[in-house]
């Protein structure tokens, strides 16, 4: 997994609440059996004026000039500034895959939906929760200053603005540890092999009906 320690980048403001994962990556693109290549379809319904299709070449598609990521000052952005309940709805991990493939390293919002929040950490993207007041302040600065950049520092757990304002954020220590070191969850879990096996043996004794009923091919 990609590491995340610290990142500075241009901020794109997405000024709407309750952005759902259907909006982040519409269903037709979920037909891919790959993990990559979703970036060109990120926010497809908002970003293009036509209806996108899976595996489509997007270079000739008509862009929606009103959409934030199509505006010249935001095309190179790597920090997404969003509103409450970002990533709600479907569990599709294609949402963080699309954000990551586009080039986003961090998403800042007052709140996130649980599954999306969790999925970000599995893909080297840092979701940062800051208060509504601070997020509002960042939206204002971002609109006022072209090329507005934020520094997101996971090690110190702070977001730093160009003028040096520093906002602290919380992150669970286990998630932080995994992200900073780019650790693979499966390897980590398998370090507890004996505990899993011991639990499983106990479970099998207590609830034997949960074992062996479904027969594989």
């Amino acid at each position: 997994m990609n590491k995340f320690v610290q990142h500075s980048g241009i901020v794109a403001p997405l000024d709407r609440a309750n952005v759902d994962t259907d909006m982040i990556i519409p269903k037709q693109f979920l037909k891919s059996i790959k993990r990559s290549g979703f970036g060109v379809y990120l926010f497809d319904d908002l970003r293009y004026l036509d209806e996108g299709m899976a595996d489509q070449d997007c270079t000739e598609r008509p862009l929606n000039p009103d959409f934030v990521l199509n505006q010249a000052r935001y095309t190179q952005s790597s920090v997404l500034l969003a509103r409450v309940n970002f990533g709600c709805g479907s569990s599709r991990e294609h949402a963080p895959w699309a954000l990551e493939d586009f080039g986003f390293k961090a998403v800042i919002a007052p709140s996130f939906a649980d599954i999306f929040y969790n999925n970000c950490f599995k893909n080297g993207i840092l979701p940062v929760v800051l208060s509504e007041q601070i997020v509002e302040h960042l939206f204002t600065e971002c609109a006022a200053i072209e090329g507005y950049e934020l520094s997101v520092d996971l090690d110190r757990q702070v977001v730093v603005t160009p003028s040096g304002e520093t906002f602290a954020f919380e992150v669970e220590s286990f998630r932080k540890h995994c992200l900073i070191n780019g650790l693979d969850d499966i390897d980590l879990t398998l370090q507890n092999l004996d505990e899993i096996k011991a639990y499983e043996a106990k479970r099998k004794a207590q609830a034997p009906w949960l074992f062996g009923a479904i027969k594989g091919n």
Binding site: R16, A17, N18, D20, D22, M23, P26, K27, Q28, L30, K31, S32, I33, K34, R35, D45, E51, A54, D55, R83, V84, N85, C88, G89, S90, S91, R92, E93, S111, A113, D114, I115, N118, N119, K122, E172, F174, R175, D185, I186, L188, T189, L190, N192, E195, I196, Y199, E200, R203, Q206, A207, P208, W209, L210, F211, A213, I214, K215, G216, N217
Partner: protein, 473 residues
């Protein structure tokens, strides 16, 4: 010491390891797999040279992409090449790794959240995961059921465990009788309206109170299914005799002595009387009438006799912005009557409402009536091949066909339009599914979430109508 909630009991019973920082390793009893969120997980296993930890803890079926029209030709005849590859990939992966799969033309195929309970794979007291946010459905059986991402699908395949952390406990305490023509779907839509789309974030919700005891297993599944639309990954109902009766005799359910042993173990699957919840929300079911969503989030819901909201009456500026955006997208005017909304298409199906009881509810309304000529298409998509067979044995397919509905093959269908069933831009759909997000049922499509009876009534009437006026008392 305070007693435990149902969630506490389920969590504690599956805890392999608890770390000091709150992160926990939870043992998973059952993983359900479908074609959309599993290919990258299987690929990950392959790249790392890993094998599934336990073959017998997995069950697969294709549901999102499968066509609902004739499919005698098998997977190779799926018209959309990208869908075909995805369904074929699930078949190949299950064959390679030895996982049991109900393939597209197996009568047991269907929507994973219909198939699991129907087969008795979903059992009380179990932990159930699936790469699908509607996995909360299985909580109706007193199981702990999570929707997970694809990385976690791979993690569970490889380790039989999920890295998680304990959620907070919320009790939705429902009292009072549901009126005639008011269903579990209306109840859960109302609850989402009360909680809001993020009201359950961070919580495991238990649906309790005296009303839940009266609600069938199908209804309980509908309610738990939509917990995620209030932001909660987990929805649950305590085990009672209805649960036991539903599970008994199903193919993967325990038999004989094991059945007796299981039933006595399941007797404890309820919150203790002195359990403490972090949040309690009280709902009076008797006040609820049929519900219709008007906007682009499930929380944008009103009673069928109400009007579309007026942003001028909303004090919260964020909500005003949301209302204005939704009105524009939905092509509706503030203060317009819900019963004035005309429908282009009707969809009866999805993991929320495609079980036999749902099909019966809709058929009761459709019987002896005709779909309005203004409705372009009305489709009924059973949740599984077995639901379809049961409905046909009861003659329900004939009722629908005589009324002008189409009777389809099982799958997710128009709930999210990954197969050919979808809305055209601007079309309004009365849908028994779970999400009315922009573009969910097709780019530019306008979804109104309702119960199966309300969807059938809208099909007949051409506009929304209070289904209670079409029912015999």
């Amino acid at each position: 010491m305070a007693g435990k909630t149902l969630y506490d009991k389920l969590f504690d019973a599956h805890l392999v390891r608890q770390s000091d920082d709150g992160s926990a390793l939870l043992y998973i009893d059952l993983q359900l797999l479908h074609e959309v969120t599993s290919p990258q997980a299987f690929e990950g296993l392959r790249l790392a040279g890993r094998k599934p930890w336990r073959i017998d803890a997995n069950l697969a079926t294709p549901d999102h992409n499968v066509p609902t029209t004739k499919r005698d030709g098998g997977v190779s005849k799926i018209v959309d090449p990208v869908s075909r590859i995805q369904v074929q990939t699930l078949d190949d992966n299950c064959d390679d790794f030895g996982i049991l799969e109900f393939k597209m033309n197996d009568i047991r195929q269907g929507i994973v959240h219909v198939v699991g309970p129907e087969q008795g794979a979903t059992l009380p007291g179990a932990t159930v995961v699936c790469g699908d946010s509607h996995t909360a459905t299985h909580g109706a059986f007193g199981a702990l059921a999570h929707g997970i991402g694809t990385s976690e699908v791979e993690h569970v395949l490889a380790t039989q465990c999920l890295i998680t952390r304990k959620m907070k406990n919320m009790l939705i305490k429902i009292e009072g009788d549901l009126g005639l023509g008011v269903t579990a779907k209306d109840l859960v839509l109302h609850i989402i309206g009360v909680l809001g789309t993020a009201g359950g974030t961070g919580y495991a919700i238990e649906f309790g109170g005296s009303t839940m005891a009266q609600i069938s297993m199908e209804g309980r599944m509908t309610i738990c299914n939509m917990a995620i639309e209030a932001g909660a990954r987990v929805g649950m109902v305590a085990v009672d005799q209805l649960t036991i009766d539903y599970v008994e005799g199903r193919p993967f359910a325990p038999k004989g002595e094991a059945w007796q042993q299981a039933v006595s173990a399941w007797a404890d699957l309820h919150s203790d009387a002195d359990a403490v919840f972090d949040s309690v929300v009280e709902i009076n079911a008797a006040q609820i009438i049929p519900q219709v969503t008007w906007g682009t989030s499930p929380e944008m819901v009103v009673a069928v006799d109400a009007k579309v909201p007026n942003p001028a009456n909303e004090p919260d500026p964020v909500k005003v912005d949301g209302i204005n955006r939704a009105l524009k997208y939905m092509g509706l005017a503030a203060d317009q009557l819900i019963t004035d909304i005309a429908l282009d298409r009707i969809f009866i199906g999805s993991c929320t409402n495609s079980r036999i009881e749902d099909i019966r509810d809709a058929a009761k309304v459709a019987k002896g009536r005709t779909v309005a000529t203004s409705v372009k298409e009305a489709i009924v998509v059973p949740g599984s091949g077995l639901v379809k067979a049961q409905a046909e044995a009861e003659g329900l397919d004939k009722i629908f066909i005589a009324a002008g509905f189409e009777w389809r093959e099982p799958g997710c269908s128009m709930c999210l339009a990954m197969n050919p069933d979808k809305l055209e831009p601007g079309e309004h759909c009365a849908s028994t599914s779970n999400r009315n997000f922009e573009g969910r049922q097709g780019s530019g499509g306008r979804t109104h979430l309702v119960s199966p009876a309300m969807a059938a009534a809208a099909a007949i009437n051409g506009t929304f109508v209070d289904v209670r006026t079409m029912m015999e008392a």
